[in-house]
């Protein structure tokens, strides 16, 4: 594979004795993606000082970096499916056992108008030039909730707005850990991924908005960064929250989607939303055999159906768009390019013309993610985006109730309000810097730079992916999951051998440490849930039925006094 620990060109062995920079703010936002930047704008509008830390440069960071094409909304147009009640009913039905509607009402419904207005203010309207919305339907939803729009400039516009409003930004700073004082989160520490400068930020309120967890399962192409969601989103927030004593929820669920075979690009929504057909190697449309909604059904049902067809040697699976009207086809190809800028070039280079050719598709790599487009997984939040640890909040894809662009924006705005209010309540009282913690974090973070450490992070990541894919895939059993756990125990013995020679690789090393923490929480939750739910998201061979009598609710995971993950079950009532 060519993994090596030799420094790349022009890089001398970096100094480990860099000075630390100390900063102070009202609100600290970790992760400058869509949720984080929306939170920043709202907290700033409320008059608070805001500081953002991101591993990349915020104009192009996170899952929506290169663009995005759809935003889910009900618009109260009079149709029965186009209402708040219809959205909540669908969420309660399709994410039953994972969604908490009392939270969804606050973090999505109550902020939807503010979110749509935010797009107008940014100059990135969800409308077409004639003022109307282009809406499509997919994934089992009762009506065309997806607004198609051109989000290719959304992140640059958000980034510029945040800087213009006077938020401070630490670009290319990877957060290592949260700081705690008297059981309250009071800041965070991190390092610059090129220069190694160590930053200590004190804050009155802290938001984790670091996205989901990717790169923990094998990629079908063998290319780990060829993943559906952003490969920089590696569960850093979830792992930091866990170490700080926060509760995680819905982390047992494996998320998979359907992608062009070879390129793990988003686009399924557009392909099925515009009326593409799925056919197997025998030329048959097969989705109706799996789901009465057919190709318009839930994503996990599409993934399950394709996995089953392929296992039965009825592949290859292809999408047929040849019957679409020229206008629809043009819209489809344009929308695909909004969601993944390079997808049309990929088709071009491969010689695929959707008006003439079938597109081969397959299931993507696995990832830790919520059960569907309206329910997330990760750090458990309440109605104010607050976690169980005082001073710590979460939003976007790293929060257990939030998923997709629409909830990244609304929960970001909602968290921004909560952060501003919390910081205001804290008044002038800024916690002192917990120096022993800072010292411990610093030693841990820079340890891989020691010359004696010689295992590349890529090798560690590869084995982690193999262990999870083998034991924690779309079909699970107690023995398989325990085997995965034992393999992680063995892998853990190599943790202190992972080495880095550049700060870039140090950042990646930290990512694989966070990935293994999320993997442990995932196995812990999945072992605890002795039933199956949401199709291949959590399918247990030893408990194949959904058991609402005993398991209608969330499995949550927290650390015990020894720092190990322990599960508990939290029932949720549904009307």
């Amino acid at each position: 594979m060519g993994w090596s620990l030799r420094p790349a060109f022009g890089v001398n062995r970096p100094q480990q004795t860099m000075n630390a920079e100390y900063l102070e703010t009202d609100v600290l936002i970790i992760g400058g993606g869509v949720a984080g930047l929306n939170a920043a704008l709202t907290a700033r509008e409320a008059g608070r000082e805001v500081l953002i830390m991101d591993k990349a440069v915020i104009e192009r960071s996170g899952h929506a970096a290169g663009g995005i094409d759809h935003f889910a909304a009900y618009l109260e147009t009079g149709a029965e499916w186009d209402t708040r009640d219809a959205y909540l009913a669908f969420t309660g039905r399709s994410a039953r056992g994972a969604t908490d509607l009392s939270v969804v009402e606050k973090v999505y419904c109550d902020e939807l108008q503010a979110a749509i207005q935010r797009y107008e203010d940014l100059g990135c309207s969800l409308r077409r030039s004639d003022g109307s919305y282009f809406r499509t339907q997919s994934f089992g939803q009762p009506g065309p909730w997806w607004i198609n729009f051109n989000g290719k400039r959304m992140k640059p516009l958000l980034g510029r707005a945040v800087r213009t409003e006077g938020c401070r930004v630490l670009d290319r700073v990877s957060t290592a850990d949260l700081l705690l004082h008297d059981g309250q989160v009071c800041g965070a520490a991190g390092f610059h991924i090129r220069e190694g400068t160590f930053f200590v930020v004190r804050a009155k309120a802290v938001l984790l908005a670091t996205g989901g967890t990717n790169r923990i399962y094998q990629n079908p192409t063998g290319l780990s960064f060829n993943c559906w969601m952003c490969p920089a989103n590696t569960g850093d927030g979830e792992a930091m929250a866990f170490r700080a004593g926060a509760r995680l929820a819905n982390v047992e669920y494996l998320r998979m989607t359907v992608v062009p075979k070879g390129f793990s690009a988003p686009g399924l929504n557009a392909l099925v939303g515009m009326g593409g057909k799925l056919i197997n190697g025998m030329g048959q449309e097969f989705m109706e055999r799996y789901d009465p909604m057919g190709i318009k059904g839930a994503r996990h049902k599409l993934a399950h159906a394709i996995l089953t067809e392929l296992k039965a040697h009825r592949g290859p699976i292809r999408v047929d768009c040849r019957h679409l009207a020229p206008d629809a086809l043009r819209h489809l190809v344009t929308t695909l390019s909004y969601d993944k800028d390079t997808l049309p070039r990929y088709f071009q280079q491969k010689g695929i013309d959707l008006s003439r050719d079938l597109l081969e598709v397959a299931t993507s790599e696995g990832m830790q993610g919520g059960p569907n487009e309206v329910c997330g997984s990760g750090i458990k939040i309440d109605r104010d985006c607050a976690t169980n640890v005082p001073g710590l909040f979460a939003a976007g894809n790293s929060a257990d109730q939030c998923r997709s662009l629409h909830m990244a924006v609304t929960s970001g705005i909602h968290a921004g309000r909560a952060l501003a209010a919390y910081a205001a309540r804290m008044g002038q009282s800024v916690s002192p810097v917990p120096e022993p913690q800072v010292k411990a974090i610093r030693e841990r973070v820079f340890a891989p730079m020691q010359e004696s450490r010689t295992v590349p992070w890529q090798e560690f990541e590869d084995v982690l992916q193999r262990a999870l894919t083998e034991g924690m895939g779309p079909a699970r059993s107690e023995w398989g999951m325990k085997n995965a756990w034992q393999n992680l125990d063995l892998l853990d013995q190599w943790k202190d051998q992972v080495g880095a020679r550049t700060y870039h690789d140090l950042c990646r090393s930290q990512e694989v440490y966070n990935m293994i923490t999320v993997a442990r929480c995932m196995i812990t939750a999945a072992l605890h849930r002795k039933e199956s739910r949401f199709g291949q998201c959590h399918y247990r061979l030893d408990f194949p039925e959904t058991d609402d009598r005993n398991w209608l609710g969330q499995v949550t995971v927290m650390k015990d006094p020894e720092g190990r993950a322990f599960p508990s079950f939290l029932p949720i009532q549904y009307a």
Binding site: A56, P220, C227, K261, K340, Y346
Partner: protein
Amino acid sequence: MPPVINQELCTGCGTCEDSCPLDVLYMDPEQDKPCVKYPEECWHCGSCRQDCPEGAIEIRFPLRMMVSAGVAPY
């Protein structure tokens, strides 16, 4: 491996270096031109391609993406 920078069109402005969400592109201080330092960490998101003011960046997909062969390990 992606991205490919057309050295004749590239003016060395450094925009692409800041655009990359995966820290793949670095300005080479000796050449004053960007260089693809971590090609295997490219997400093919096209941020660099979109932001390049000279249109000097194209994406070349790895062979494993171009030829859709292979059985998924699931």
